[in-house]
């Protein structure tokens, strides 16, 4: 926008930038589109070009081992982890944005550090710890592993929304006679909403998708959806995972599009 208004003539530089950008976007979409094509192919193997159209691989999704049970476990873990982490993050981000204390930068870096830890390291550290305290391979130990995995995401988005916010609004509410709780509930919380929604959404999606931490923390009947899908891919060559992937991307797209329409999470996350 800014550049085009100042320089109407497209230069070689602009053309190179545009070419690379569209190349990168095609690269981003390429495997998704091709997976969708493969998922509709009648053939028993991944094959190009597709010969006959069929929806049979979509019906075959139910034959992925324990897909129903593992999806339920993944959903319950992701929902619990996202809810608990967002709650913990609301309190912590309020403390960081409202109070002045020394070591704040260090504390923030510490709270955000799980993002950059190798996931295999988190998995190894936690499974040894759970074995030591005798709580390994339980639903709760899996939940705690996922909470460590996702905690940094709501903290990051909430801190971003709180720094943009004007604290004098809450002061105005209390000076007009609202209780502290009421001022928080009616003034502060609505303003935290975009950070809340995008933090919750990312916590949920990242937990739902995780493989490298879960693989250490599950055993036997306790299993997650990504683990079962991964196992299916490594043991079978048919295009069922393509059908599954296409369905997954469609559902994710609908959720993100809805969240953008309703809460403007995309425009918000950029600022």
């Amino acid at each position: 926008m800014q550049t085009s208004s100042a320089a109407p003539a497209t230069t070689l530089f602009d053309r190179i930038v545009g070419f690379l950008a569209w190349l990168a976007l095609i690269f981003l979409l390429f495997p998704v589109v091709l997976t969708a094509i493969v998922s509709l192919n009648d053939s028993f193997f991944i094959e190009f070009p597709p010969k006959a159209l069929s929806f049979k691989w979509y019906f075959n999704i139910v034959n992925i081992h324990a897909i129903g049970r593992s999806t339920l476990i993944s959903a319950s873990i992701a929902l619990s982890a996202a809810l608990l982490c967002t709650t913990l993050a609301i309190a912590a981000s309020l403390a960081i944005s409202r109070y002045q204390f020394s070591g704040k930068a260090f504390l923030t870096a510490f709270l955000l550090s799980p993002i950059t830890m190798p996931m295999v390291a988190v998995g190894i550290a936690l499974i040894q710890f759970f074995i030591m305290i005798g709580a390994a391979f339980t639903w709760y130990s899996l939940l705690i592993g996922h909470m460590v995995l996702v905690i940094a995401y709501p903290i990051r988005t909430l801190l971003a929304s709180l720094t943009l916010m004007n604290p004098s609004l809450e002061e105005a509410a209390t000076s007009l006679g609202a209780s502290k709780f009421k001022a928080f509930w009616t003034v502060t919380l609505p303003q935290m909403k975009p950070g809340l929604i995008s933090g919750f959404l990312f916590a949920f999606l990242i937990s739902f998708d995780n493989y490298p931490i879960s693989v250490f923390l599950v055993r036997g009947g306790l299993s997650t959806m990504p683990i079962e899908v991964f196992n299916y891919i490594s043991q079978n060559l048919d295009p069922t995972p393509a059908a599954f992937s296409t369905l997954y991307v469609i559902v994710i797209s609908l959720i993100i599009a809805y969240a953008e329409r309703r809460y403007r999470i995309v425009s918000y996350s950029i600022q």
Partner: protein, 300 residues
């Protein structure tokens, strides 16, 4: 009376100290307790374990030892895998940067409706399952996959090319995974630049390339730093992507550590490998931040 007043004043000052920080402590305590029990203690425990003998070690004994680290550093295989992991991560960061910066620049120039669509595509990509995205590359790169079909249709080769299970396939997967993590911080750093700076450069006769290299790029270095560090850290510790797109001869360091734990059941050795990776990644990132700060005077 005077004594009474001074007592009140002392309790008063204590009260104000307490009331100033009790709120923050109360709000932070639940999260800090959680992270200390389930993050700090497990990592401290793992660190301690990495300084112990495994039951399978021949000279097994009690007490702390550097045995696992000596084993890590003297193993030719670990050295090879570590070098490969570093090389592939560096390549991933470079390619991702070259592809992502133009997207960020393009986003600035587009109409807001198209911009929102592209941002949605990037967000959906970010939120789509890693296994799903890697599987997409299996579909593209397989022997009978899309790319081979294209190569043969164009008559470039008469037999399928082995694209899967190679370092190239892993780097493609890693770049695909990393693009959203690179685009978003760069784009937000570009948004923060006042457009008047670019206009000033152009009105003073600077061409598009000069404006970019003298104004836009230096001012966006904090975003570039954020994106490259995240991409580098994610690539260095990649586990699922090399597992799905690579072969044993292209394995990365997380796989070797996981193998010690899941297959060899050698916890101390696996812990030492992963601690080495974590510390190395941290040191490289710290050196990189210092370089950007000293050489380019970037505010990172």
């Amino acid at each position: 009376m005077g004594q009474f007043t001074s007592t009140v004043r002392i309790t008063g000052s204590r009260d104000s100290f307490w009331s100033r920080y009790s709120g923050a402590l109360f709000l932070l305590a639940p999260l800090l307790v959680f992270l200390i029990i389930f993050y700090v203690i497990p990592f401290a425990h793992m660190l301690r374990e990495s300084f112990q003998y495994a039951s399978s070690d021949t000279q097994a004994g009690e007490g702390l030892t550097l045995h696992q680290y000596i084993k890590t550093w003297s193993s030719a295989r670990i050295g090879r895998v570590m070098e490969r992991t570093f090389r592939m991560s560096l390549l991933t960061v470079a390619i991702t940067l070259v592809l992502s910066y133009p997207i960020a620049l393009l986003l600035l120039r587009l109409k807001s409706s198209i911009r929102t669509i592209i941002l949605l595509v990037i967000f959906i990509s970010l939120a789509s399952s890693l296994i799903v995205r890697n599987y997409g590359w299996v579909v593209v790169l397989a022997d009978k996959g899309a790319l081979n079909a294209l190569i043969q249709a164009l008559g470039l080769m008469d037999k399928p090319v082995r694209l899967m299970y190679s370092e190239v396939a892993i780097v493609i997967g890693l770049v695909h995974f990393s693009i959203p993590f690179m685009v978003l911080p760069i784009y937000s750093s570009l948004l923060r630049q006042p457009s008047s700076l670019q206009e000033a450069s152009q009105s003073l006769g600077g061409n598009a390339w000069q404006t970019f290299s003298k104004i836009t790029l230096p001012l966006s270095l904090p975003g570039v730093f954020g994106g490259t560090v995240l991409t580098f850290a994610l690539s260095m510790s990649a586990y699922v992507t090399p597992l799905m797109l690579g072969s044993p001869s292209s394995s990365m360091i997380s796989q070797v550590a996981a193998e010690q734990l899941l297959i060899q059941l050698n916890f101390p050795y696996g812990a030492a490998i992963i601690v080495t990776l974590t510390v190395l990644t941290f040191l490289i990132v710290a050196a990189y931040a210092t370089l950007l700060r000293k050489v380019f005077r970037a505010d990172v």
